[in-house]
């Protein structure tokens, strides 16, 4: 069932300790900063977080990691110049890391939403990241068996939602949003605008409302040039 909620706090209130949480965004584009802040505030812990990175600077996901709420990160690129909170926890052995090539991350998330139990892909064959994984020679190439990444909750950011929960995104802020919305049991979306049903052209909807559970409007979110606090370079 689709719910329109009044605040980001209300939107994340049901997230339980031990959940697997997908968080959209690539760099700052599409990062649901306000939802992440609310998740930090709500106190849920022992989380497995799926995101392309492992937090940057002193905000959002990085703070969640700093506060010890994240048991495990599933990501493609945890090492950035300002990912010091992850670095510290990792070196202290206080956080688990599942490193996944970015395309495998995307395809495994897509597989979860699409009801695919596993697939073979050439990416990673012969590398450290395929060690111990099943391989098979298919279509003239060695390929590696990969499994879906499911989640309890997805936190994503879109540009607009209509009354049916249909979403459109903006430019490269689309990134992981549509596939995470489909992969999670419960999808929470922050949007900059909610428009009446029928305003969005049915040809142009990127995420149909069937994949959306909670929508919260966050002023200034998704406008491209950031005016809200908490965003780093």
């Amino acid at each position: 069932m689709l719910n329109f909620v009044e605040s980001v706090q209300e939107a994340v209130a049901g997230i339980k300790d031990g959940s697997t949480v997908m968080i959209g965004g690539f760099g700052n584009a599409g990062q649901p900063f306000e939802l992440i802040d609310a998740l930090l505030e709500c106190g849920a812990t022992e989380l497995t977080v799926v995101n392309n990175n492992a937090g940057q600077g002193d905000q959002g996901l990085a703070l969640l990691i700093k506060e010890g709420r994240v048991k495990k990160m599933i990501c493609s690129f945890p090492r950035q110049s300002d990912s010091w909170h992850f670095d510290a926890k990792y070196k202290a052995g206080q956080i688990e890391l599942e490193l996944v090539p970015q395309g495998n991350l995307a395809e495994r998330i897509r597989a979860a939403g699409a009801g695919i139990g596993g697939f073979f892909t050439p990416t990673g064959y012969g590398t450290m990241l395929a060690e111990g994984k099943e391989t098979r020679f298919l279509d003239g190439k060695w390929q590696v068996f990969e499994t879906p990444i499911h989640a309890d909750v997805a936190l994503i950011k879109a540009l607009k939602a209509d009354g049916k929960g249909n979403l459109v995104y903006r430019k490269t802020a689309r990134n992981f949003g549509p596939i995470m919305a489909a992969a999670a049991k419960h999808t929470i979306v922050q949007v900059s605008d909610i428009v009446p049903t029928g305003v969005l052209d049915p040809e142009n909807i990127v995420t149909p409302g069937i994949f959306v559970n909670s929508i919260v409007k966050v002023a200034g979110s998704g406008l491209g040039t950031s005016t809200t606090a908490g965003k780093a370079a």
Partner: protein, 224 residues
């Protein structure tokens, strides 16, 4: 094959990064769809001409990427894979991450240009991880890029700071992909790699013999 074969091109001096980028740009066939990796490969975009009609892909969900955004053009929702603000060209399109990597992994990109730590004689690529103890591994899209494009070009200096060849018999760093590199552009020469071994197409500021002294694998000269 002979080291005295003179069919390969030579230039008088080693190439700087920009000249090398110019060379790579010149070698990209008109109408190609291309992904330029983070770092040195990004320079290639500065030398692509309008007549070439190249479409740039960025794996965070866009075809038709334009130059880096400046001043008022900067839009936080429009960045490249290196998280640098970029611009949009006419005919651009946006798509989600799975579609973007499906495009790459499905073999639809003509060329991907990547940096490297090492390339082996058979085209193995090492560019994601030093393997140093304690180093936090991070792969991003490197393995997908290495595996997905029809041609994988590497751009790098031929030698490490310590003077060791980055073209090697077998990679000592953890590999990114096996047998995936087809061409290596360096400051000292252009090399073709693959099952047949390493062929030199051009040399810069050195002869083939001098190059062979730097590189611990047998080199063949390209035939005319």
């Amino acid at each position: 094959m002979s080291l005295t074969d003179t069919s390969i091109k030579t230039s008088e001096t080693a190439l700087g990064r920009d000249d090398l980028a110019k060379l790579v740009a010149r070698d990209i066939a008109p109408g190609s769809f291309v992904n330029l990796g983070i770092g040195q490969p990004t320079l290639v975009s500065n030398y692509l001409t309008e007549e070439q009609n190249i479409t740039l892909h960025t794996e965070n969900g866009m075809l038709g990427m334009g130059p880096e955004a400046k001043g008022d053009e900067i839009d936080e929702d429009l960045i490249n894979a290196g998280k640098i603000p970029v611009t949009e060209l006419p005919g651009a399109s946006y798509f989600h991450h799975a579609d973007s990597f499906a495009m790459m992994r499905g073999g639809h990109l003509d060329i991907c240009v990547l940096g490297a730590f090492q390339v082996s004689v058979t085209g193995d690529l090492a560019n994601w991880h030093t393997g140093a103890p304690g180093a936090i591994p991070a792969v991003g899209g490197a393995m997908d890029l290495a595996t997905g494009a029809k041609d994988v070009f590497v751009m790098m200096t031929l030698l490490t700071r310590e003077g060791a060849s980055k073209i090697v018999d077998a990679c000592t760093y953890p590999v990114t992909g096996v047998g995936c590199v087809t061409r290596v552009y360096t400051d000292r020469g252009v090399f073709l790699t693959g099952p047949e071994g390493v062929t030199v197409r051009e040399t810069f500021g050195c002869t083939l013999e001098e190059l062979q002294e730097l590189i611990p694998v047998p080199l063949k000269a390209a035939s005319a």
